[in-house]
């Protein structure tokens, strides 16, 4: 039963990584930039939900919606102020800016919410489910997390494959110049992707903080880096890749913790990434598009 418990925990943690990784991968796909501030949006989402529930006494679900709305706006504003002016700049300049935005968010959080860890109230308040006469206990949060992840995946797939805006997003990811000739407003499309990614980050933040209930200004950093790893693992730019990468990363992490050692878990996670990239440089589901000359 221990094995099954670990699988469930792994998939659950991986689902959170997957939701964060989707934001990384979609932004990379369209803006060809690594938004290292994405992890800190998770933290902001966590704090917004925390404030709504703890200080305003709102129901958890309303807190989640508020966090989502807040982060969506934050994502749009960050893109507009920090990244849009650098659209034609070398990618290194954009990367440094993203790191700067990340520290800006962390320090702002430090200023507003102070450095002492907040105890995050779980948004899922259901009793633990027991199977096989108490041998297998499944936390309802795990189920909610996995279901949310599935819903996000299905929703995003439908959006990108079926709707006009979703197809325009794919068109922009491939060729912005040609996309604007179609009458697609490329800047608005990039804004939309930041909005979606940041909204998802807020959801991930709430789920993450519910599972690991200490909330600090640096809470988003490590999950952000891991989710970025997951996105690269699955093939950056690929939505199913981010999903697969996230879940696998979660499972590897939990298994490494359970069977090898907590201290080594992160090293093993990144070790696996290195091996995968040696064998498949584009990631599991990524494809290398050769540069046309």
């Amino acid at each position: 039963m221990g094995l099954l418990t670990n699988v469930i925990n792994g998939v659950s943690l991986g689902s959170v990584y997957a939701i964060i990784a989707l934001g990384y991968t979609m932004v990379y796909g369209i803006a060809k930039m690594l938004n290292f501030a994405h992890g800190d949006i998770i933290m902001v989402g966590g704090y917004l939900c925390f404030c709504a529930v703890q200080y305003l006494g709102l129901p958890p679900l309303v807190g989640v919606v508020l966090a989502c709305a807040g982060c969506t706006c934050l994502g749009i504003v960050i893109e507009r102020l920090a990244y849009k002016p650098l659209r034609e700049a070398p990618s290194l300049a954009v990367l440094i800016t993203a790191i700067g935005v990340s520290y800006f968010l962390q320090n702002s959080a430090l200023l507003i919410w102070k450095s002492d860890p907040k105890v995050f109230p779980s948004v899922v308040k259901l009793p633990t489910l027991s199977f096989f006469g108490g041998q297998l206990n499944v936390s309802p949060l795990s189920i909610v997390t996995v279901l949310t992840c599935i819903a996000v995946m299905v929703g995003l797939t439908l959006f990108t494959q079926r709707t006009k805006m979703g197809k325009a997003m794919r068109a922009c990811s491939e060729d912005k110049g040609a996309a604007q000739l179609m009458g697609i407003d490329v800047n608005a499309t990039i804004s939309m992707v930041f909005a979606i990614g940041s909204g998802l980050a807020a959801i991930a933040g709430v789920l993450l903080c519910s599972a690991y209930p200490t909330l600090m200004p640096t809470t988003g950093s490590l999950p952000g880096i891991k989710a970025f790893t997951a996105a690269v693992f699955g093939g950056i730019g690929s939505i199913p890749g981010a999903m697969l990468g996230g879940i696998l990363l979660g499972i590897i992490e939990i298994f490494a913790k359970a069977y090898i050692g907590t201290e080594l878990a992160d090293a093993i996670v990144f070790g696996v990434l290195i091996v995968v990239l040696l064998v498949r440089p584009a990631g599991l589901l990524g494809t290398f598009v050769p540069e046309k000359v």
């Binding site: 006009k164 794919r170 040609a178 009458g183």
Partner: protein, 235 residues
């Protein structure tokens, strides 16, 4: 009054003066071609009309309104479509999705109707509508690029090197299609390296040399012009 009027257009790439005082006009219902060697500024001129590049000076007027400063993504709504050099189809989108993108600014029901017309004009695209555009042959991709441009129901279609890299039989087919588009009332501004073909279907032509217009005339006149024959038609 001419449909498109470009006067004294100057475009720079950084410090390079790519288009030097180019002037030309396109009247409604015409096929007008810009011919000239590599680097003569033909594509730059089209890209400037399309709003991708900004001119340093000069004017571009379409149906009496200035196009200078209008962003590229607002052009299709004004009735101008550019079919860019190198086709630039969306390889990861299906043929049908590419066509849908061409009609991005139009309501879905109108787009469906236009898509039917495009399929009639290019039956091959209909056969391959569920295929990814990247899997099409060069000729099919060119047809898709043209079909995609037509999806916006343009009054003026600008074609940048539509015959580039195609086998002779396909080149002939592409030019037949351009002619038939024009017969159906679409005004065409054509940039071509294949000057002979371009002039043979064009009402009028302009010869561009290192950035400026050096000659203009009807397609037939230019075809028989000694200088043009020597420089662009192989004697």
């Amino acid at each position: 009054m001419s449909m498109l009027e470009v006067s004294d257009l100057n475009v720079y790439y950084g410090s390079i003066h790519a288009v030097k005082g180019v002037s030309f006009e396109v009247n409604e219902g015409e096929i007008v071609t810009l011919i000239g060697a590599n680097g003569a500024g033909k594509s730059t001129t089209l890209n400037t009309v399309a709003g991708i590049l900004r001119p340093r000076s000069g004017s571009v007027e379409f149906e009496g309104e200035s196009l200078v400063g209008v962003p590229a993504h607002k052009m299709v709504q004004r009735g101008i479509a550019l079919c860019p050099e190198g086709r630039r189809v969306f390889g990861n989108l299906t043929v049908r999705e590419n066509l849908e993108m061409g009609a991005f600014t139009r309501p879905d029901d109108e787009a469906r109707e236009t898509r039917r017309e495009v399929y009639e004009r290019f039956p091959r695209l209909k056969e391959r509508r569920h295929q990814l555009a990247a899997t099409l042959s060069g000729g099919e991709q060119q047809m898709l690029a043209m079909g995609r441009a037509l999806m916006s129901k343009p009054k003026l279609i600008m074609l940048d090197e539509p015959s580039m890299g195609l086998a002779p039989i396909l080149v002939a087919e592409i030019f037949d299609i351009i002619k038939s588009l024009n017969d159906d009332g679409v005004t065409v501004l054509l940039v071509e390296q294949n000057a002979r073909k371009a002039l043979s279907i064009a009402d009028r032509g302009y010869v561009l040399e290192v950035g400026g217009v050096t000659k203009t005339g009807t397609g037939a006149d230019l075809l028989h012009d000694d200088d043009v024959r020597k420089a662009y038609l192989g004697g």
